[in-house]
Symmetry: D2
Subunit: 117 residues, 4 copies
């Protein structure tokens, strides 16, 4: 079984065992994801960009960020699973588009303010 699928199955079982599936509508899961993304961005709000690069030097902050990243991934996996969307397929499809739009030759070294990923 693929690794994300395995984790999705773990989340599915967790909800089923507690009878919590009725809470896990796509609407609610999108909200939970936004909430966790908010907690994640808050971890970085007062850091300079340089401090954010050296996050691992602050083990407590690093552990909090790792936990938040885990939360975001969990809700994202659960949401995709509820909608029957394959995370990697969705991301690769989106990225095929991004690569076409921003071809390397034209964009290399430009000082554009808003590169996509």
């Amino acid at each position: 079984m693929r690794e994300i699928e395995e984790f999705a199955a773990r989340l599915r079982e967790f909800g089923a065992e507690r009878d919590w599936e009725r809470f896990h509508t796509p609407k609610n899961l999108a909200m939970a994801l936004a909430g966790e993304a908010g907690e994640l961005v808050a971890e970085f709000q007062w850091l300079t960009p340089e401090q954010s690069e050296r996050l691992a030097e602050d083990p407590a902050a690093f552990a909090r960020v790792r936990a938040e990243i885990g939360d975001v991934f969990a809700y994202l996996t659960r949401l995709a699973d509820r909608l029957g969307i394959d995370l990697l397929e969705a991301a690769n499809a989106k990225f095929d588009e991004v690569e076409r739009r921003y071809d390397a030759a034209s964009y290399r070294g430009t000082a554009r303010k808003a590169p996509p990923l």
Copy 2:
């Protein structure tokens, strides 16, 4: 190579080819992730929970949500990669904790308002 690792490598190369790594500080990537999570939650804002369950009946909305899920996953993967965090390890570690805290026997069928995932 593991499937998420492969996608992370694709993103890494994409940034390198365009000389955009300097934009991809953890601080900036956390912001980009929060921005995409905002676009995702906005897709569901006027839907009833029931409509959100039947999202696939509206192919245009479904395609938009799929693309947003792809964007969130891409920024999450890139952020984790920049910090040297393994997404699945982080999520499983977080979830081990969640399972201990909310054991199935005590929580099954409770009408708690705020279940975790």
Copy 3:
């Protein structure tokens, strides 16, 4: 002095007294605002729309939401102040546009999925 201006002055003084202005760049304040908006949306994530209408029946939840609303408003006021933007002028200008785009005669009673405010 106008009421929002008075609150903006309070925040300005608070930062100055603690020598925290250097943290309050527009970039950082936008992040803090996104973080608080995430905490606010999380308060509603497992509620049905109907339960959210009756939030006042749960005094503890109501108090948390009120505090989060206060936080969002504080960061929004501070951000607007740092950029020299008048909140009410900005919102009314945006709303003039919205009213032109969605004229009442055409939109009344339509079952559109995504009305603006």
Copy 4:
């Protein structure tokens, strides 16, 4: 009439004229606010903190940020109005607490990473 109250009344009337009140549950409005906060933070994601201070030098970006700030304020006002919460009272109450917790004498000039507002 107080200035925020006037704007709240404008929003209330706007929804009533289009029969859109049923969409404006607190749950949905919190989602809309999170969505707009996401768009706002996205405007700053690739800027350095210094560039964010000089946002006004880029009139197009400044106009977009002003419009997003207007959107966030509109949804915040509408949400508070639906819940019967006074924005300024909520924010001042929250801030009374913050001032007690972070007294100026102890915190001035400290290099703390995470000052509150």
